[in-house]
């Protein structure tokens, strides 16, 4: 339930979040200490920490840890940038022009819920086993959410604002640039955040395609050697990086659309 914020609520919220994470890790640590579970099934935090330090120093399969993180981030960011650069204008155009929307809607709704792993064979067949097919898979899973969200954001612009523009003598172009686009901005940001979340989940699928580095590949590879500690480390890194990506988007939105949610 949302209660209108009081002073200090934000700080209290952060403290509660930190406390709950600390309690969770603490319980996990105690479980490991008491040897309640085999480290093969659930390695304790200490062991994961040690492996992290180890592969930071020596690398995993001759590749340093930062490179695994960097390679994955690179693939994802290129895909996200392409998806936003193509998806936002396309979605806006669909929102503005019903004919375009009717023409593209069937494809968008077909591809959006499709499990992108199913496209791996086609991606390899068409684009080979290089970086392009990996970026392509992440791009596809991001694109359609951006398109649908951007199209919906245009329809969400209130009739009042459009009538205001018309009454003030705005031309069609002015209505689009000065009214519809800025009014859609907060919702576009929301859809990009959702899409980045969806795209990030496809990373593993993308790195199943003949990869030799990357966090997703590291997890898959470590699992075949029963290195549960490294699997867990990979999962933690994937989660934290995803968290960070979303946070960066929140910060950008705060600058680009400071009015979001305050109207």
């Amino acid at each position: 339930m949302i209660i209108p914020g009081q002073a200090g609520d934000r700080r209290r919220g952060i403290l509660v979040s930190l406390a709950s994470v600390t309690v969770f890790v603490g319980l996990w640590w105690v479980c490991g200490r008491l040897k309640l579970m085999s480290p093969l099934i659930l390695p304790p935090p200490q062991e994961i920490w040690d492996s992290a330090l180890e592969i930071l120093e020596l690398g995993y399969h001759q590749t340093p840890l930062w490179r695994h993180v960097g390679v994955s981030l690179g693939r994802a960011l290129v895909a996200f940038a392409l998806a936003v650069a193509i998806g936002v204008p396309l979605g806006l155009a669909m929102g503005l022009f019903p004919i375009l929307s009717s023409a593209l809607e069937p494809f968008v709704q077909f591809f959006r819920p499709l499990p992108k792993i199913a496209l791996i064979p086609l991606a390899i067949l068409w684009l080979g086993i290089g970086e392009v097919s990996k970026v392509f898979l992440i791009f596809l899973s991001t694109l359609f959410t951006v398109v649908v969200g951007s199209a919906a954001s245009v329809k969400g612009v209130g009739l009042g604002k459009l009538r205001l523009g018309a009454a003030l003598g705005a031309t069609r172009l002015q209505l689009i640039w000065k009214f519809i686009l800025p009014a859609s901005l907060p919702e576009i940001f929301t859809s990009v955040r959702l899409a980045v979340g969806v795209g990030w989940t496809t990373l593993i699928a993308a790195e199943m395609v003949a990869a030799e580095s990357g966090m997703g590949w590291m997890v898959m590879n470590a699992s075949s050697y029963m290195r549960t500690d490294i699997v867990m480390l990979g999962i933690i890194l994937l989660g934290l990086t995803g968290y960070l990506l979303d946070y960066i988007l929140v910060i950008i939105e705060r600058f680009a659309a400071p009015w979001a949610g305050k109207e």
């Binding site: 009538r163 018309a166 009454a167 003598g169």
Partner: protein, 308 residues
């Protein structure tokens, strides 16, 4: 601005300093002697723009499937001539089609029957000759207060310094001095509506269309906004068509009150206000004429058969 200057030769347009014509036989109210109510629907004695005349000509409007007689009939057979420079209130219960009439005048919708005329032509689409103030302030949150006020001139590509000079005048008139750089979401409801007023008025349209602009405000703020509206109106001379369901609001503001019937909206009563200006809210409510006019309006709104 020349268009707003009342010509000295015109018998209709008196200078604002001359004061209203006084009927010596009329009893004296708290506001002093009453003006002559000679039945002429001439413009009020203040500056006005001759382009501000409005005429509803047998206007009917039906939503939905109008071809086969289905849908909802919002307005039926509505005719009224509104003199340039006057302040006319459209009064009626919710759903009586008064907002529909404003939408037709603003050009947001086309009447399914009849015509709405302004100046010399029929209304076909929205235009900057008709300023609109909505019930919602409808401010653009990505623009500061000043940017919202200058929106119209900015869209029309007017020179920046000219626009800023005008904006300064309307910021002062609407009591927004010191708030120019605030974001709209930092303002109270009343302040937001002041910005909306200034935004509509900065281009000095001959006609102002107001759809219950103070309906969402609390009683105290509403009274001060009504006083502000009268103040700005007397200084600019626009024709105002003001929709409200609040009888006291109509009585306080209007030269003339058009009472509408429930759906489909028809003209029930066309009443000229005898109340003198300047009006003082506290004195007005104990004025016998005020009470009589209010009684007449209340009766008209209660009984549909009261329709003449």
């Amino acid at each position: 601005m020349a268009a707003f200057d009342a010509s000295k030769d015109s018998p209709l347009a008196m200078s604002c300093c001359q004061g209203p014509k006084v009927n010596p036989a009329a009893p004296e109210g708290l506001n002093g002697p009453y003006p002559v109510d000679d039945g002429s629907f001439g413009p009020a004695p203040r500056p006005f723009n001759p382009k501000g005349a409005v005429e509803f000509k047998e206007v009917g409007h039906r939503y939905g499937d109008s071809k086969h007689g289905g849908g909802t009939e919002a307005v039926a057979d509505f005719s009224a001539k509104i003199a340039a420079g006057s302040l006319v209130c459209l009064l009626g219960p919710s759903g009586c089609g008064k907002s529909t009439l404003l939408n037709l005048l603003a050009g947001f919708e086309k009447p399914t029957k009849g015509q709405v005329l302004v100046g010399e032509g029929a209304v076909t689409k929205p235009g900057p000759d008709r300023g609109v103030v909505f019930q919602e302030p409808n401010l653009l949150p990505w623009r500061k207060v000043l940017g919202n006020i200058t929106l119209g001139p900015d869209l029309a590509g007017r020179p920046k310094d000219e626009t800023l000079a005008k904006a300064k005048r309307f910021v002062e008139l609407t009591g927004l001095t010191g708030f120019e750089k605030h974001a709209p979401y930092e303002l109270s409801g009343g302040m937001k509506q002041r910005v909306a007023l200034a935004r509509a008025w900065i281009s000095e349209p001959p006609i102002m269309v107001m759809d219950e602009p103070f309906g969402a405000l609390d009683a105290q703020t509403r009274v001060s906004m009504q006083e502000l509206l009268l103040d700005v109106w007397e200084k600019t001379g626009a024709t105002i068509l003001f929709v409200t369901h609040d009888v006291d609001e109509a009585l306080f503001l209007a030269d003339r009150i058009l009472v509408m019937t429930p759906r489909p909206g028809r003209l029930a009563r066309d009443l000229q206000s005898p109340l003198p200006r300047p009006r003082i809210y506290e004195s007005l409510v104990v004025d016998p004429d005020y009470a009589l006019l209010k009684r007449e309006i209340l009766l008209a709104m209660r009984q549909p058969e009261y329709v003449i």
